[in-house]
Point group: C2
Chain length 355, copies 2
């Protein structure tokens, strides 16, 4: 499966790399920023999900390539704007878009750092805005790849009505959490946020692949709905596993440092569930260890014990396993073919990885 995933990545890299859309963007450094994230993508999981969902229903993979590139570009424009909002400075080992653009302002216009920071953020807003248009344009190019006009229109409608509204609403809720304060967020709120911020685009990927594969423009058809459900379940299962690894993971294997979520006081489901399950005294104890600059092994162990003792760890692992099993059982309702196996393997991979 990982080999096949690399093949998808190579295909999508080329598709995005060779697309002419950014070529007319001015000035040049904005054009470079528009191409940057989409051309240096991660694992291309979303395109794989889309292409394999198309293959699962015996569709022509070729027809789905523009749509697969489109979801990747779509994902990346949201990252550009998220990085501005979150003040993130590193993305995939390189400076984030607004940081790169700020550096450009210093180098080419000789601005001071305050002006450069504003310039970087302003141009990163514009870069993301263009990327949103690029993603839609790429999706529309499906019509040139054998996807009927009515299906292409339905895909583009669904991208707005599902992905745009829900993903951005999810991002908004996520940004709002810290302002609402600990005691006013429940683990259910975070679950809803995840279904919006992460689940909506994954759902669309599977739906779009299935719609292209079956040639339907009705997204309420059971096949489409079922595959959408598979994808969002698998995605949330992954996210829960990721939260767990952030506390219980093996430091050497798990990429980001254990405790980073604690340090930034990220309201994960596991943390909030722990709060909900603990007695007041333990709750106070946990609260005192959140948001520290550095963590000792002893402090991490205290948090681990509270999470384990309260039953929150089990809740999160059970929930992750349940969603993963649901995803898998949806897939098994489809006739077996090589794409079903790839999707089953991908689903397993998402919740079994240790880093």
């Amino acid at each position: 499966m990982l080999n096949e995933l690399s093949n998808v990545a190579a295909l999508i890299d080329a598709e995005i790399e060779n697309d002419a859309f950014p070529s007319a963007v001015k000035p040049e450094y904005l054009r470079l920023a528009v191409r940057d994230y989409p051309c240096h993508g991660g694992k291309r999981l979303r395109p794989a999900l889309l292409l394999w969902s198309c293959g699962l229903v015996d569709g022509e993979i070729d027809h789905a390539i523009s749509a697969a590139a489109a979801v990747e570009i779509y994902h990346n424009w949201t990252l550009v704007h998220d990085d501005i909002i979150d003040n993130d400075i590193v993305r995939r080992g390189a400076p984030t878009a607004h940081v790169q653009l700020a550096a450009h302002a210093v180098k080419y216009f000789g601005t001071d750092l305050v002006v450069a920071d504003k310039f970087g953020r302003d141009f990163a807003i514009l870069a993301g805005d263009i990327q949103q248009g690029w993603a839609i344009n790429m999706l529309l190019k499906s019509a040139e790849r054998g996807v009927p006009a009515l299906v292409t229109l339905a895909l583009c409608r669904r991208m707005q009505e599902l992905v745009n509204r829900e993903l951005i609403s999810g991002e908004a809720l996520d940004v709002e959490f810290p302002l609402r304060g600990w005691r006013n967020i429940g683990s259910d709120d975070v679950m809803r946020m995840l279904y919006l911020k992460t689940g909506a685009l994954l759902r669309f990927c599977a739906e779009a692949g299935a719609a292209i594969g079956t040639g339907t423009h009705d997204f309420s058809e059971p096949v489409i709905t079922a595959l959408g459900e598979f994808a969002s379940s698998a995605g949330i299962a992954f996210q829960l596993r990721d939260d767990w690894l952030g506390i219980f993971g093996d430091f050497d294997k798990f990429g980001k440092s254990i405790g980073a979520d604690l340090a930034e006081a990220k309201p994960t489901i596991m943390l909030l569930k722990t709060f909900e399950l603990l007695e007041e005294a333990d709750r106070k104890k946990l609260e005192s260890i959140i948001g520290l600059k550095e963590y000792t092994t002893g402090q991490i162990e205290t948090v681990q014990n509270l999470m384990r003792g309260s039953g929150a760890e089990k809740y999160v692992l059970d929930k992750s396993a349940e969603l993963s099993a649901k995803a898998s059982s949806i897939l098994r309702q489809f006739d077996d073919n090589r794409y079903r196996q790839l999707l089953l393997d991908l689903n397993d991979f998402l919740v079994s990885r240790e880093k």
Copy 2:
């Protein structure tokens, strides 16, 4: 014509007001921000341009209503992001989107002003992002109004390839100007910027109306190209007239205060042309009167004399008249009907107004 323009405004107000797209946006204050600018629009000139262009080629106005609402929403999302970038605090007599959202943070989350400012900007980025999706969704709804699927697809492609890329590139160039510094911008650079930032969407409005009216999905057809040329010419003529009113207008009639462009050192074509035409001594004199906090009548008169004496005023008025005449002569190539007259009147109105 102004009466007909009010009718268009009422029609578009209702279309945008009743559209369900924002209803699923969360949280509520983000939903309100998404609806705010589009529901409280200005004169709705862009929708009128689109609808009347459809009528000019004897198309069904009814078919074009979704597209007309779409261009208005599109225009408004760019304003939301522009207002963040330009640090503007007032739009159409009310606080700008990011200022309203910042006030919300103070009122409902009790944040301090620094956190509120960041919150306002972050959520205004997200509001504009959703509005871009809303505009595209509204355009796609044309297919439910009798516009053939292939035409609807072509409209949406054109919205990305013309409007998204060019309008945002124009905005980027405009934001870049102050950093490049006076001496490194020519009046030609500003003219190119205007064709992108203002001209692209106006061109699209006329093209879209004509494409819907004739049922074509080929935007290179002479009728479509000609009407696009009409609209961008009329728009730039208006913009040049607006620059002129900013210096030579009658204070009582002209809405914004005379000299405001000078105070913010806005690189207008008239100002740059004046620099290009003046001798070095006068250039220094002019330079010393730019970017002041307040202007005396004497200082305004000095600027007026330099602009008039250099020939820059004449250049701008001639250019505006030339573009307006070009727009008018394109329209006169079409068979006469009531929409042709409305468009001719609109074209005259744009360059003859005194406020």
